[in-house]
Structures are given as C-alpha cells and as structure tokens.
Symmetry: D2
Subunit: 459 residues, 4 copies
Amino acid sequence: MNLMYDDDQLLPIEQVFRDPVHDYIHVQHQVVLDLINTKEFQRLRRIKQLGTTSFTFHGGEHSRFGHSLGVYEITRRICDKFARNFPTKEPGDGGWDDGERLVVLCAALLHDIGHGPYSHTFESIFQTNHEELTIAIILSQETEVNQVLSRVSLDFPQKVASVIEKTYPNPQVVQLISSQIDADRMDYLLRDAYFTGVNYGTFDLTRILRVIRPYKDGIAFQIQGMHAVEDYIVSRYQMYMQVYFHRVSRGMEVILDHLLKRAKKVYQDPSVSFKHSFSLLVPFFEGNFTLKDYLALDDGVLNTYFTLWRADQDPILSDLSTRFLDRKPFKSVTFSKQTDEAILEKLSKLIQEAGYDTDYYTAINNSYDLPYDFYRPETDNQITQIELMYPDGSFTELSKASALVTSIAGKEYGDERFYVPKEFLKPDKSVEITLFEELYTGFSKYIKNGAIYDPTKNE
Amino acid sequence: MNLMYDDDQLLPIEQVFRDPVHDYIHVQHQVVLDLINTKEFQRLRRIKQLGTTSFTFHGGEHSRFGHSLGVYEITRRICDKFARNFPTKEPGDGGWDDGERLVVLCAALLHDIGHGPYSHTFESIFQTNHEELTIAIILSQETEVNQVLSRVSLDFPQKVASVIEKTYPNPQVVQLISSQIDADRMDYLLRDAYFTGVNYGTFDLTRILRVIRPYKDGIAFQIQGMHAVEDYIVSRYQMYMQVYFHRVSRGMEVILDHLLKRAKKVYQDPSVSFKHSFSLLVPFFEGNFTLKDYLALDDGVLNTYFTLWRADQDPILSDLSTRFLDRKPFKSVTFSKQTDEAILEKLSKLIQEAGYDTDYYTAINNSYDLPYDFYRPETDNQITQIELMYPDGSFTELSKASALVTSIAGKEYGDERFYVPKEFLKPDKSVEITLFEELYTGFSKYIKNGAIYDPTKNE
Amino acid sequence: MNLMYDDDQLLPIEQVFRDPVHDYIHVQHQVVLDLINTKEFQRLRRIKQLGTTSFTFHGGEHSRFGHSLGVYEITRRICDKFARNFPTKEPGDGGWDDGERLVVLCAALLHDIGHGPYSHTFESIFQTNHEELTIAIILSQETEVNQVLSRVSLDFPQKVASVIEKTYPNPQVVQLISSQIDADRMDYLLRDAYFTGVNYGTFDLTRILRVIRPYKDGIAFQIQGMHAVEDYIVSRYQMYMQVYFHRVSRGMEVILDHLLKRAKKVYQDPSVSFKHSFSLLVPFFEGNFTLKDYLALDDGVLNTYFTLWRADQDPILSDLSTRFLDRKPFKSVTFSKQTDEAILEKLSKLIQEAGYDTDYYTAINNSYDLPYDFYRPETDNQITQIELMYPDGSFTELSKASALVTSIAGKEYGDERFYVPKEFLKPDKSVEITLFEELYTGFSKYIKNGAIYDPTKNE
Amino acid sequence: MNLMYDDDQLLPIEQVFRDPVHDYIHVQHQVVLDLINTKEFQRLRRIKQLGTTSFTFHGGEHSRFGHSLGVYEITRRICDKFARNFPTKEPGDGGWDDGERLVVLCAALLHDIGHGPYSHTFESIFQTNHEELTIAIILSQETEVNQVLSRVSLDFPQKVASVIEKTYPNPQVVQLISSQIDADRMDYLLRDAYFTGVNYGTFDLTRILRVIRPYKDGIAFQIQGMHAVEDYIVSRYQMYMQVYFHRVSRGMEVILDHLLKRAKKVYQDPSVSFKHSFSLLVPFFEGNFTLKDYLALDDGVLNTYFTLWRADQDPILSDLSTRFLDRKPFKSVTFSKQTDEAILEKLSKLIQEAGYDTDYYTAINNSYDLPYDFYRPETDNQITQIELMYPDGSFTELSKASALVTSIAGKEYGDERFYVPKEFLKPDKSVEITLFEELYTGFSKYIKNGAIYDPTKNE
C-alpha cells in the first residue's frame, strides 16, 4: 500500500468549515484535511486562544482551533490572489510560485500547534517553549501531524518547520506567516474582536487582500492601500491597549502564575506525601516531560487540578486555586519603576503586616507592545518592515507614508502594574472590616486616580 | 453587622459586561453583581452552552456563563419597557408591578445554574436532573447563591425558585422566563447563531421588545409585531434543523453516551482494582453524589478523565475516549422506525461480524422539536400559547394570525438516525481495506442518498 | 480603427466597486466596464430602487444602479463556481459552458435598464412598460448600451435581449436571471434589507452559492442546502409583508398615482394655456414618446415638476403635489371585497360630502404576492419550480421537501386597503375640527382595529 | 383655539423610525414629530448627504433626512444618560438640567436644515451660506419649522437658533451639537461608513455614550474611555482620507463647479434669449433669491436643469452637463504648490493647445482637514478641545493622554490636485488617438506615480 499522497492531492470535493469570522474556511487538499483531523490539532479545541482574557471579556472563550483554521484561510485566499495576479514567470522576477502553496498552507495551519494551556504563564513556570514544541510536533515521528506531512514527501515536515523557524529560503512564504502584517496577526485581531465583542480590532481585510502582493524580497502592499494598512496598525495598537493588556485579566494571570509556582513548591516539599492529584503535571514539576506528556495537557486538565487543589491542605495553594476558579482577581495600580520603588516597598510591607505572604499575594506585571517598527540596521532588531509599492515599482516604508504610523513606530506601549489582593484597594462593604481599617487607610494614601502616588511631593 | 441588603439595593454606579450579542450587559443591583460573583455562577464559564455542537460549528465554544448574562439582560430590558409603558395602577389591571423586577432578574440569571457538563448525555447516564439541581443550588444553605439571595429576604430564595418552577403566582413573571417566546430562548437563538456563525437564528429582537407587553394572564405581543414574532418562530425552527440537530454533533454525542456508559460498567466491574482515575466521578458511578460533588464537575473535568482513560486497559473505554477527544464521530443514515427495522437488524449483524460490540458501536438517535404549539385543553399539553393583542384590547392566538406558523404549529420536526463507525459508510482510502471490503459492500447496498433503503422494493 | 473587442476581453487589471452588500463588485471584462459607463446605465443612479418605500423606511434611498451591479456580482460568483465545479464536458451533460459567461453577465447587469421613475405607478398611467423598454434600450442602435454590446459581436445585443425575454436556448442562463430564486431576487432582498435596516430579508447567500448547481434543464440546488433555500423563501415572504407592502408607502403611492392622473387631465384640458412646466412630460401626456424622451426621465425630473405644480392654478394638482413632496400620505383601512363593498360606498359618500373629489381623494390598493409556486401543468402558470438534487442525481421539488414552503406555496399573501385623507382616520388635534367633527364620528363607527367593520352585525 | 403645546409635550405613545445605523429613532415629543413633518424638513429627503461622493461609493446615496434624525437620536440618548446619571442639583454644579432637553433636541434635528443641493459647490458659485440659511429657516415666520417651534414658546425659535450659532449660554448644550466630538460628527461618520460600505468610520459609539458626561464648562469624557475617543478621532481622519477627499468624487465636483459657473455666464450673456430652462435658478443667477426660492431647490431640480442643458446650444454648458450626468470625471495628479507651479503652467498650455478652454477644463482642488486640535490661546482658533476627566474630578486634554492623537493634532491632512480631462492622463484605447498622441506624450513626461514630476531634476 502506497502511503504517499498523489501528486494531485486536491480533494474531489472542497470541504468547508463554517466560521463566524471568514464565513467559510475552504479546505481543498487532502493533506490539510488530514492535518485538521490529527489528535494534536484537535487538541487545540481544548486550549483557549486568549487565556485569562475571557475572565474580562466573557465572549472571548474561543479556542486556538478556530484561529489556526483562520490563519490557514487567510493564507489560502492570499495564495489564490497571488496565483491569479502575480504568477512568477522566471526565477527571481518577484512573482509567486504556486508550488509553494502547500508548504505555506501547512505552516499557516500548524504555526500554533505547540501551544499549551495558558501558554505564557505555564512557560514561565515550567520552562516550556511553544515555538520549540511546535517544531518538535512537526518533526517528531511519533505525532500524527508528522505522519500526515511525511506522506507528501519525506522532507516535507522539515520544510514546514523551516517556514515557521523563518529559515525557509523563499521570503514571501516566511513573511506570509511571520511579519508585522501576517496572516496570523490578521486573523487573531479580527477573531478576538469578534468574540470579545469589541470593535477595535476591526480593519478592512478585504481591502488589504486586494493590495497585498509578492515581490523579490517578500510581501509588499500597493500604495493605494496605505490607509488600510495604517488602519490595521492602529487596530492592533487598540487591541493591545484595550483587550490584551486589560488590567483585570492580568490580575487573574498573576494569580495563575503564583498558583503554579506554589504547586511546584508544594510538590517538591519532601513533607508532602499524597501526590495523586498532580499526576499529569508530575513530569513538569520534575522537569523531565516528554512530548506525549505535553500533548496530554489542556486548559481543562489544569482547571481540574485546581479543582482538586481547592481542598489541598496547603492553605496558599488552596486559596489561590479558589481565587482562580471563582474569579477573584488581584487588583492593581500603575506605577513608574523609576520614581515609585520606595513606595512599592512600603506597600508590600503593609501587606505583609496584614498577614499575607507577599511572594504569593503581590505581583508586578509589565505589559508592553511595539505596535510597529521599521528596520534599524544599527540594532539587532531584525524586523521585517512594511513596504508599500508605487505604480512604477519603487518602494517606501510604511511610516514614511503615514503620519499616524510614524507617531507610534518604534515606541512601546503599555504599563507597569502592582497587584495586590482586592481588599487593599476596595473595601468590601459586605464584610466586617474594622480590624483591617487602619491598614487600609495607610495603604490608600499612596493611591490616587488608580496610580501610585507620593503624598510627600507636590504634583 | 447587618448582612441584609438595604431596601435600595442599587449599585452606586451601574456596572457593565461587554457582550458581543447585546453590546453591554447592564448590572444595576448589588445582589445581581454578587450572584455573578458566586462560585456556582462562575463555574458556568467551564460548561459549554452547546456541548458537542462545537465539534461541528467550531465557533460555538461559548459557555453557559454568557448565555445566563444574556437572559438576564433581555429580562432587564423588558422590565424597563414595562415599567415605563405599562405600570400597574391597581391590582388586577394587567399592568406591570416593578416590585417584581428583582425576583425576575434573579430567576433569569439563575435559570441554568444547575447545568452540568454535557448535560443531556450526563443526565441520561447518571440520572441527574439539571432542573432539580437548579432549585437545589438556589435553596441549599451551603451555596453562595443561596447566601446572596437570602440577604434580600429570608424567603427570597424560595421566591426565585418558584419562578423557575412556574409556581410563582404572577404569570407575567413566570412567562418572561419560561414560555414559547421567553428571554431564555431569545438569548440562546441569537447567541448560538452569533458564535456558530450561521444566521438562521437571527430575528428582530429590538422589534419584539417594542411590541411585548404585560396583560392580566401573562405576556402578550401587540398585533403590529406579528411578523417579528412569526420570524422568531421560524428562526427557532431553522436553528433546530440546521444547528442543534446536526447529524455530526449527534455522532459525537452518541460516542460520549457510550463512553460514559462503558466507564460506569468498567468501574462497577469487580475485577478492576486501580480506580484513582475516576475520583471526582465516583459518587456518580455509585449513585450517591452530593450537591458539592456535582458542583465540582465541568467540561474540563470530564475531558481530563477521558485523557486519562485513553490509556485504560479496557479497549472499548480507551477507544471511545480517543474517538471523543480526537473527534472521530460515528456516521449515520436516516431511517424510519416503521419500515426499516428489519434492515437495521441486518446492518447491526454485519457490524457485529466485523468484530464490534454493537452496544458501544451502534446507536439510534432521535432528535425532534416542536417549534410552536397552541394550547390544547383536551390533552395534557400545558403550553402557554403566544397571544397577540389588538388595539381594542382583544386577543388572537399566533397561529390564527400567521399562515407560516399554522403550517408548523403542533408538528414535531427532526429525524431518526442510525449511527455506526465511519468505516461502514465511507471507506478510508488512506488505509488498507481489502479484508474489510466485502462487509462494506454488503453494508452499502442498504444505503441510498444518506438513508436506509430496502433494495428488495421498487421505489 | 477596429471597434470590436478582442477575443480576450479581460481587463488587464480587475476593477472593483465598493459595495456595502457584497463588499466588492469585481469587474473583469472591458465590455462590462464600458456598459457601466454608458449614459443609460449611469441614469439608474437617479432612479430609486424602492420608489415610495423610502417614505416609510428612510434608509431605503438606494438607486437601481447599485442593485444592477449587485445582480451582476451574484451572477459572476455563480459563474465562477460553475466553471470550477461543474464544467460541461460534452453537450447535453448538464454542465456549465463558460462560453455563456459574458452573455449572462451582461443580461444580469442590464436586466433593469428599462426602469423609469416610480415605475409601477408611471407605467399604469402612461402605458409604458419597463420590460419592453429594457429590450428596446439593448436593441436600439441609438443607445450607448447597444453600441457597446455590438462591439462583442453583431448579434450579441440580440442574445442578451433574448436572455431577458427568456427565449435564450440555454435554460441555465435564463434561470440565473429569471426564476423563483435568481440573482435579481437574491440581490434585492439583501440590498433592500440592508438599506432599510430591517433584517427580514437576510438569508444565507454564501450557503446558497455553495449548493447551487447547473443541470440539464436549468439550475438546481443540492439537497443539503434545502434549509438555506427554505430560509430564502421565508425571507422573501417577510420582506413583502413587512417592507414592500407597507401601508404607509402605499399611501404615498396612491397620491402619486392620482397626481399623475390629474396632471394628465389638466394637460389635456383645452382651457389650460400655459404648459411650459410640463416640458419633458409632454410626449407622455400626448402618448407619442420616443426612447430618448423616456431616457430623459428620472425621479428628480418628476419631483421637479411636482415642485413647479405646487403653484399650479389647479387646486387638486397643487394639493396632491404638495402632499407628495411634503409626505402627507393617505391613511387606510383593510377591507374585504366580498363583504364590505356597501360600507365602502357609504364611506366614499361621506368623503364626498366633506367636499373632496373621490376620484382623487380615495383609492383602493391591492398588494398581493405569491412567495413561491410549483409548476402546475393544468394552468397557464409557466413558473420554473425550485428543484433540489439528491446525491444520486435524482430531484425533488422544494415544497415536497419543506413543510414550511408547502404551507405558503401557491398562496397569495397581502391585503386590500381603502385609502382616504388622513383627517378621516385620525383627527389632527392641532387644528380646529369642530365643523368636521360630525363627519368624523360618522366615519369612525365603521372602523375597528384598522379594518372596515360592519356595526350592524355581531362579530 | 390654543396653538401652544401643553407643558407636557410628550406624545402619548413614543413613535419610532426604523434606522439602519441606530436601529430605531425614538420620537417622544409632539414638537419633534411636528418638526419632522414640516415641508422644510421633508425637503432634506431630496438632498444627498454626500454630494458627489456617491459617484465613487455608489452606496452613499443617503439623504440629509436620515442624518438629521440620527443626530437627534444620539443627542436624545445622551440626554437620557445625563438625566439619569448626572442631574444638576444646584446651579453651577456642572450637572445636567433636563429642562434643556427640548432645545437641544430641536437644535440637533435642525442643525442642517439650511443645506441645499450640492452645498459646497453651490455656495461657492451663488454666495449662499447654509449656516445663515439654517438660522433663517428657524427664525422666519413664513416657514413651517418656525411655526412649530413658536408653539413651544415665542422665544423658542430664537433659543434653538442660538444653540446652532453657539451663543446659547449653556456650553453643555452648545457642545453636544458643535464641538470636535459632537452628535453631528458621530452620526455622519457612522452613517457614511454604513452606506458607502467602508468600515473606516466605525468607532465604538456605545462606549463613548458610556463615558460622556457634563461638567461646568461643557462636555467631557471619563478617562477610562480614552481609547474609544482616540479611536473616534482616528476614524474621522480615515474617513476624510479615504472617503470624503476621494480624488474621483472631487473630479466630479470640479465639473459641477465649472458647469454652474458656465450656466451663470451663459444666462448673463445678453445674446441668450431663450431662458425657460433656467426658471427655478433665475433668482440665484440674478443674485436676488428669497428663502422660498432657496427651499424650492434640491438635487433633482439641479439634475433636471442639467438634463435640459445637455441640449443647450452652448457647447461647453452642454458638454459639462453631459459629463456630470453620465459620470465622466476629470482625472487628476497631485502637486505641490511651492515646487510645481511652473509645470502646471506648461500643462495648462498643452491643454489649451488641444483646444480646451482651461477655465472650464482644468481645475485645482485642495482638500484639507484638521482631524483634531487643542485650544491655542495665542491664535484665533476658538476650538473646544476634548477634555478627559479623572476619578478625582481633574481634567486632561486628549492629546496629552494619547500619543496617537498627539501625532495628528494640529496638523492638516489632505492634498492638492490638478484636474484635467481624462484623455490627458489615460488614453482611451477604444477611440482614434493618432492626432492627439503627440500632445499626450508631451503631457505624460511630467507625470510619475500619480503626481506632477519635474523631469529636469534628479529625484
């Protein structure tokens, strides 16, 4: 039996997935359909795209599964446009070689396959890395993904991996998946905006798909679409400011971080004897996990441990698990590292005096994003800047054409926040607070308009 | 310390939740906010609204949390309209008494609080009942929900429960939550349509909110809004036909059903000694669960057991768990009970011959819905029919005014399907099927156009 | 100079028109672009799609220009699907011959080119016929449309005309433009719903485009799309009931009708000497208009005459012009021809007694639509019924598969209304009505719940 | 008979207008309903909101009628929020006095009542001024608008006028109608975006309505809504760049300008004897128009004259009328006043050599907008800057809080274009151009990438 795909791997009948963002996802290749049906890809249904953001925007409960299909679909539509309008005629002419279609489609579909539950936090505690894991899933012969890819050709998994690693020789293919305006970003902005119900992430995808084009060194945009590209950059900036960096979601994220840190500590405590409720996490606590261990995890698995840990004898582990499951976020104030460090120390001390272990009950969380940057040869920023093409074939870099983009290019946006249990920032009127009142009053004099404030200085 | 709410329980500042369906959910009462913050309500974030439907419509991953807020919000908007336009002036005049607002808002918010993971299937295997559990959560003194409700008044939990049980004396309040056109149905149609990305469920909510009005015996609609109500009925019918009864989601549901049935059997098998991986489910297998046991369950908990059971030594449990997690639905054909029973038997026999235990590898699934019915005094249908009101105050029942509704009133729609492993209906070209070929050919001659077919009869 | 198009008439670069309904209209042929740029087509910008409906739904001010582009675009998308999925391989196999593309695109674009201002009313007064005029514009050598079409081939205008006249030999081409589910109807339902802001007309165009397919005798739909087709039929029904037949728009239409009738009479009155303000309408009053005369008319031209006639010495012409421009619709009640004729006479008499010429101040307006019908060989209904195709290639007619459609198939929906000046149905409190009061009271006793009512009968 | 409204002018039943942008417009006062029914307000149905923009974005055919309702509706919603959340308790406390509601609603509704057909161009040719005419319509006793307003109180028309003139004492009322983020701008951005089908104009109105609040000196926004305000400013900028300043619409506007200029000249030519086809325009040509003359004009009236002038004996008038009606825009290149003046002269000379009167066949069109500015005491910019309010009641100006706004504040955006007949920029392959070829070649060497270019300089 020949396990390789035929040369012509097109499905006899195109298959579709209904999608609220792109209407339909169109699957035309057997290999793409088979990849979607692998267990590694199906697992993405059990991992939320936005982690703790759904604690703030309750609509944002969608998984990485739909996003991965969406990135695939945008890439597919771009390939269609390129094949129709800009086919290469001879090597090096900057046109699109449709022989690249399959590799770029598979890379688009699989670019997030290595994500685990609550990726960002999990990675920082357990030293996992979703990018390395993505490559491992594609290359390891034990995965279904690898088996499907290998049926195209033996070196096909390696090719797909190299697109994601940005070492694939054709820069057009790489930039479709990874650049400052790639299929990944375009899908997640639209998708996250749709599900959360905000409209900051909305930009004109149809218009961008009309002006995108290949050229010798990658992907460019025709100059008449400048405002659509500009609008995309602004949408991205707005989504970071309004959704991704929302202070309340970060107040849940710091709980998650402290909770996992505590669990690890409790596990490693020799005095803890009864460990059954750590089972699937043991390899991570012990630092010797396999790919198979990793693929057994998902959001529900972590939440199930938190449910079990609610009843743990360790009071901190139990309390933090409860706070996380029942959504009791830490509250926060902004501060400035340069000027407010002394005050931070005072506040931490007050919290300690109230009986809290500040390792687990305070946190500093920085969230910064660079909405757009241009290439700076003098630094090691190796960013692909956005190029606009004139009718005569010459180029200009985006921020040279857009005042709006100039204003935000190269600058990081975000803030630095100090997180503490809610009771320090907002007394709960429904509980008795007399004993606590003095501490609260001491605390509040350092806070003004949601920021740390030095009462000893004039404003 | 007084733990009761003040008479005036309004929040100093209204709080909002961004919602993709209703734009904002507006919370104006302290008690409503506190209910949302209970652990029982937060648990709804971990239970999908649509169960296995998201295996077909991948966007439909939203939880019961957002839906519960949505039902609350529609109810709140209706209360606002009623209070402004139809306030009661004297008892029995059919106007709206805004003193009912708090009880109806709480009932709206909590109407689904007793749902567990994959409710429909779970209930049939473990004899739980989400309606009884809803009442239990409201009335049991051990829940946070009960404690919050009790702070309004000691009999308030009982009042809220009676609205959900339809024994509350004011029929307006009952019908807002439970009738053929209530806040629950209106929210789920719109919400499920939004998240799945189909538009069959879309109807004109704003127009319905303009024509809804209280009257002596409940809720009616002004005659000029007849077409909006008609359109709602048709949308409901379409959502059932197109989304809720989708054959593929049911193909996952039958796997889930068989999987839980098998787990119960394996658990009860005296030869099974190592049971740790059933922990949170044990009380259900043993039939002695408490409310606390029930509230520890959610979708992720079930999926975590399935992940553990993938490696179980029982081959059927392991296989069905894998099929569920990796989305390998059973496939199906329609049949008619009256005429096709003999053929069903033949097909089951073929499946058995192929080595499958038909108790776990075949299923019959019926899905029928009654989109609308009118009151029939002669039967025990105790349905509240939809009443339309003329300018002069007289009424007519909906199906009398709408030919479209007449055509579907009182009729059940749906189908009966026979489910089998995929390989019997669609040979997988990527695997060796020679051995299997004869069976497959034998099977296929009984199938035509997706239905069971009797080859011995002329059509 | 060669005035014929090249064989390959594709534009070097596709041109697009931004469209709120279809996002973009894609123009790929030089001949299509040239047709859009003809003066006859540009004139459609000055003719509203919905006539007097925008007096009720103020958003519905869009012109026939956008609709014509929309019909073209839906047709183009269908051609793309047909060419990709169902290309003909040999004559008579029921596949799509893409050589038909240009003729069907041109027919789609031009199918409404013969419409004039307020078509329905204008035609009934002046015996014009927009269908005949469409053919005339396509065939007359004096039009730019004809000159552009002739550049494809000398018989091309005739071909395009025959598609619109339904005499073109290929039934697939004819049915795309004219059938019970054609590109024309699909566009106007979506477009009119978008602009008026109602959502009754929304159906799932993308899904319909997925299941539409050619067959030997025309156009069919794959059975799995049955519910999308059903939903389209219901949407159509709802738009007629809710928008197109709105009683207030019809109250403006009857004024327009009477106004044009009066103008014609005044023109023909030998005692009227000063006729300059009829200039562009003279050929229509005299019944000897040319195609050029017709093409000079548009909504603005008619409204300009009404503006001039406001000051006419004929009091009825002046009054009706004012009522039309200032939106003072006649009001109406429903009635039943069989039972209420005697009452109608009484009411007309009362109106006459009040000093109104009932020829110009009362009207009967019937609006009925047949949402769907199946072919009935015994009558002269020559309708093309909607065919659904099974996987095995067999067919079933829509109403056989859909209970919803069965319920409305073959039945006409609408009503019959009696229109009178507003003051008879709703006294204007801001004006002195003492003198009028008795008449009003006499009138009102025959009206109940918006319908004519016989007070002598028990209900 | 008492012609004054009662103290309580609320309608017994709220009336609604279906609106695609705001869903429903809610009318609650008799005076508002009566204003909508005046002939001056109904006339707005016959005047397009976007003038020549619909020649580029064919969906943008909506009239000033819907926009005026929309401005009213946004204002009404703001009043509701202010009355509920920020009622004044004592004079000068910065709260909202709901006694201002009626005057601000009427001002919102009527703010554009003085607009005529193609306002911008018409005004520049005939020295009319839509702002003065708005005031005149409100104050002149001959209008229905004035009569309705006077029924509230004799000084009410003057009050409404003073709001529009910005002399009304309460700055909150003035700023709701006229400021950098007022109900007028918010409605037109959303409305124009909806009808044209672009999505640049979309911003989060619901969020802005949540954070808008009155204060002592006018209207402010709570700091937590900063990003929504920022997004509104960017949307405004994008709409100007992408829609309002579209080069093709301006290519139609310059034709309209030249056409009216030519008509005026032809009218004033003593050798022209036959003037009937200027009738309604005569008072404007002669510079002695009355309010009544002005109110007789609308888009259709102007277009009707253009239709008549197609056949005029003056070849320029006839040609320009034809170009306008048949949409043959002039084409353009950008240039820079400082550097390109010499080249402009050369190009004009070439056009003259080709036989065109450059007064009528060339044009310079500048379109610049200031998306946002802050108050600058040193200049005579009397702009109301956007103020953001902190929780403690202190304020900051928008651009101080938003880097994005800083980047565009105080700067004008737009371009300067030189318009010429199409044949100079894009040879029409379908016509004989041999004779013209040399001129065309001479012309093209000064054009590069759509801009004027000096071939003698190195770039």
